[in-house]
Amino acid sequence: MKRRDTLSLILGAALATWLAAPGAAWATAGRWFSPIRRNRLRPPGAVAEAQFLARCIRCGRCLEVCPYHAIVMLDIRHALHAGTPLIAVENIPCYLCMKCVAVCPTGSLRPIGQKETRMGLAVIDHYSCLAWRGDTLCRTCYDKCPFANVAIRLEQLRPVIDEGACVGCGLCVNACPITVAEDGGKAINIEPVYAGNAA
């Protein structure tokens, strides 16, 4: 009888740990494991990532007004980030209509203009980019950029990003014909360099 009690105690403790450990990890994961990474961006005007988590009340209004359905809503698998908005630019990029920033009730998306938007920064992978490799005269990103000749310029027929002007909308990523096999990225990607300690 006593042995059985000990056994059930051990089993119970093991079970509790098994249940609680992921629970505890899950509870804190939200703070450390932000969904924001390459090509996974907050809508325009977003405050820094840690503030975003705190401010956003998950009301979904930014997403409802998005005419391109570019904004998706995360669910509980993203822990404390559940309900927050996200733009996956290679699926649907941000067309900078700025409707979402005008409806956010909490200031998680600040009411800013197109040019002040900094969702991230486009970075060209020179080893995959057709123009940089010298394979073809591809200039898709240059053609698609809403600030062509400003945010993306052509230098000797190769695209170059201007850090000061790129808003990180992801139109270039969405249009880029090259998908890099190893990591699923494109030859041009948006890095969320302005999201604070996001990734």
């Binding site: 009340i57 409802e64 309900g83 009730p105």
Partner: protein, 265 residues
């Protein structure tokens, strides 16, 4: 029994209308690209008039440690409503209440067992006053608001939106099933004892103007009101005037001697 007044049909109509708004909203936003009305009962906008659920707004302010004027202003109207009329959001608008009314109705239709009592003291009534500070404190420790993720009225709105926009459901919606399952054991246990938003609205409406008033000399002590009350209050002992009452009016409806009346003070 002949009912002496009929508040209930109006309340059910209000609940149905409130649900219709958040059903129609994503459809209109998605298919018609008309954004005049946006959101659900966490934040809802009618044109440029914005409402923010008081607890969600409070969480956002406390956790972010910053006050954003539109959020603050959006909270004024709901708080005023609660200040004057009490927890009427819970009983007249909240889609979870409609869901649980439907559960009640189904149970009556299926004719099965007696509905579980709302008088069970498994969870004491004052738990309501613990969940609000607990929820706020945990949110502030984690650095992320919790009720904005798990608010049942918010979840219903979110799932309806997800259904229209993504033809999918968010997994946290399972919580709603859990709340319905809870109803098999105790009536409105979540609303009565565990809802932090309900606690905040009840607190705000502590000195509300609209109350159910007992006319003690007219009361025949039949106890019908206590059986009807979804919150397990005993209106025949004037508990409907207490801070816990959410002014649904069910007791007013069922009182055979008209001893219970809504009064504006």
């Amino acid at each position: 029994m002949k009912s002496t007044s009929s508040i209930r049909p109006w309340r059910l109509a209000a609940l149905a209308l409130a649900l219709a708004v958040i059903v129609a909203n994503p459809l209109i936003n998605f298919f018609c690209q008309n954004h005049f009305v946006q959101g659900w009962y966490q934040s809802i906008a009618v044109g440029e008039l914005w409402f923010v659920s008081p607890l969600e707004g409070l969480e956002s302010i406390l956790v972010a440690k910053a006050v954003y004027a539109p959020a603050f202003i959006g909270m004024i109207a709901p708080l005023t409503l609660a200040f004057l009329l009490g927890r009427v959001f819970c009983s007249w608008i909240c889609p979870l209440t409609l869901l649980l009314e439907i559960v009640d109705w189904l149970r009556r239709r299926l004719g099965g067992k007696k509905r579980p009592s709302a008088h069970s003291e498994i969870v004491p009534r004052w738990t309501l006053w613990l969940v609000l500070p607990a929820e706020l404190l945990i949110s502030m420790v984690l650095g992320a608001p919790l009720f904005v993720i798990f608010s049942p009225p918010g979840l219903i709105g979110r799932e309806l939106m997800m259904l229209v926009f993504f033809r999918a459901l968010a997994m946290e919606g399972l919580l709603l099933l859990a709340l319905i399952a809870l109803e098999l054991f105790s009536r409105r246990l979540f609303c009565r004892c565990l809802c932090p938003l309900g606690a905040l609205l009840a607190l705000t409406g502590g000195k509300r103007r609209l109350r159910v008033q007992l006319q003690a000399d007219a009361c025949v002590d039949c106890g019908r009101c206590a059986k009807t009350c979804p919150l397990g209050l005993r209106p025949q002992t004037d508990q409907a005037a207490s801070i816990y009452c959410w002014n649904c009016g069910d007791c007013v409806d069922c009182c055979p001697s008209q001893a219970l009346r809504f009064r504006w003070r």
